[in-house]
Amino acid sequence: MTSLRSPLGWVLRALALLGFIYLLGPLLVIVAASFSDTGYLAFPPQGFSLRWYQAALADARYLNGFFVSLRLAAMVAALSLLVGTAAAVALTRFAFPGSVLLEALFLSPLVLPALVLAVALTLFFAANPIAPPGMTRLVVSHLLVGVPMVLRVMLPVLRRVDPAIEEAARNLGASPVKAFLLVTLPALRPGLVAAAALAFIFSFDEVEMALFLGSVRDAPLTVVLYGAAQMQMDPTVAAVSSLLILLALLLMVAQQVYANR
């Protein structure tokens, strides 16, 4: 193994640092700009002010958008978890003809660009108005990505959990239902939390489908932000974006802390 102190080790460190700057740089720009004391987006920021945060929190559009997004993401996370976990259990515990093909099929929406999905779904709903525009359509659409995300997390988790633990619980006197609740579910819990967090963050941050399929009145936060960025582009946009970044960060940290407990 290469020691981190060798010349190559320093090169690797520098590469890692560049990687981090590349990934996190744009976020830093937005966060820095949100504190600027100017009436337009400026980087490097000039002066320091929290007034754009004040403005953002006072703006009913942003607040409304936030609660719409929250409701949407919560529903998507819950339903994805339910459907995705059930599918993962079926794919890992029972071998049936076509299960390998089915697994690949289930995961395929993850590789489609969101815009392609958004356009396809718009055409679909226009031809088959089975759900009213707005929340219902958005939930159904986000599930197309949320379910594969949960599946992606839960498949390896389920493959790692020893199926014999459920039998052991039954052998020790737990009914099948009790065995599932007392042993299998707790063993899966860290995976379930991670999967739910991923689906939640995806739905909360999603733009394309929200733009195409959402209603104007109940627009998710990302759509409100998109509109604002096109119309005025003042640091309020940066302030709201920073708050979003903070929320995602908190969720990921909480999930990690939970997983490493």
């Binding site: 959990v161 020893d162 014999a164 633990i165 039998e167 052991a168 619980a169 039954r170 052998n171 020790l172 006197g173 737990a174 009914s175 099948p176 009790k178 065995a179 007392l182 042993v183 707790p186 063993a187 819990r189």
Partner: protein, 343 residues
């Protein structure tokens, strides 16, 4: 030890479509007895154990535990304690909670529960590890927790599914002696699945040798070794030279002083010397392989007729012979054990 029948398998069978996993198994395990189900993988031993535990439904036959028919009873109502090959410890529960799991399901009151868990922890030398999670334990410690979890509920029958196969060789021997001591002291009726004949010989009261779903022979370790009932048992338990004897000769012309039929000659019964062969039960050949094993020496003697004869002798054998030396193998009439005529 009393000899009442604690566990009875009565014509127990399991079929999957047209394949038979277990064919009409009859077996009685007495109270306090340890019976090994021994056989190669796919012989039906694990299927039999899992039918007793209630994880697999028998296609035919009955299972009686302490006189009660439990054939159709769900697994969680059966009074069995199973040790799984993978141990199957609950990953989110501590050592103490793992051991307490079965007691809690039985509604044992708290003070009593604590006492019984503590006693099991002491018995298995797990003191100081009570609060650890399974992943923080060594393989040997995990194995002891699995054993403790199964024994603490004081089950009518203990089911062991290859409980030593995940331990390294050194630990395995110590652990199986320890488990045998515990089993004898507590008088536990035990059914023990293994593919390792040395393991089965070392700790069992009786061995049920299984092959292709059938029970080939049931007997004490000495019986199955010294008087194997079938060709399979003779070659699966220990090593064996087999002769098809007719009118004082084997199929390849070796003069034999023994009965007609299939004869078993154990390698350690064969003596090697360098005098020429004369008369029956003596045959010459060339030493092909000599393996010094510390406690003895294993040799392969390539006979002039072409057969490879297995020989086990004292360590000094390696001093007298070299690969390529000429040698004569001899044995006594009593060393030739006839298999009962096979159907």
């Amino acid at each position: 030890m009393t000899s009442s029948a604690e566990l009875v398998l009565d014509g127990l069978a399991r079929r999957y479509g047209s394949t038979t996993a277990v064919a009409r198994m009859d077996l009685t395990v007495a109270a306090g007895e340890l019976v090994a189900l021994l056989g190669p993988s796919g012989c039906g031993k694990t299927t039999t154990l899992r039918m007793v535990a209630g994880f697999i439904e028998p296609s035919a036959g009955r299972i009686l535990l302490r006189g009660q028919d439990i054939t159709t009873m769900p697994a969680h109502r059966r009074d069995t304690g199973m040790v799984f090959q993978s141990y199957a410890l609950f990953p989110h529960l501590s050592v103490a909670e793992n051991i307490a799991f079965g007691l809690k399901r039985r509604g044992v009151p708290k003070p009593d529960l604590a006492v019984r868990v503590a006693r099991m922890v002491a018995l298995l030398k797990l003191q100081g590890l009570e609060a650890r999670l399974p992943r923080q334990l060594s393989g040997g410690q995990q194995q002891r927790v699995a054993v403790g979890r199964a024994l603490v509920i004081n089950p009518a029958v203990v089911l062991l599914d290859e409980p030593f196969s995940n331990l390294d060789a050194l630990l395995r021997e110590g652990t199986r002696i320890e488990l045998r001591r515990l089993q004898t002291e507590l008088g536990l009726t035990t059914l023990f699945v293994t593919h390792d004949q040395a393991e089965a010989m070392a700790i069992s009261d009786r061995i049920a040798v299984m092959n292709q779903g059938r029970l080939e022979q049931l007997g004490t370790p000495r019986e199955v070794y010294e008087r194997p009932a079938t060709r399979f048992v003779a070659t699966f338990i220990g090593r064996a030279n087999l002769f098809a004897s007719r009118d004082g000769r084997s199929e390849d012309g070796i003069p034999l002083d023994g009965p007609d039929g299939t004869l078993v000659l154990r390698p350690e019964r064969v003596v090697l010397d360098d005098a020429p062969a004369a008369g029956p039960n003596a045959v010459s050949g060339t030493v092909e392989v000599l393996s010094f094993l510390g406690t003895g020496t294993q040799a392969v003697l390539r006979l002039d007729g072409g057969r490879a004869l297995l020989v086990e002798g004292p360590a000094a054998l390696a001093d007298h012979f070299r690969p390529g030396s000429r040698a004569t193998a001899r044995w006594m009439r009593a060393d030739l054990v006839a298999l009962p005529a096979e159907g």
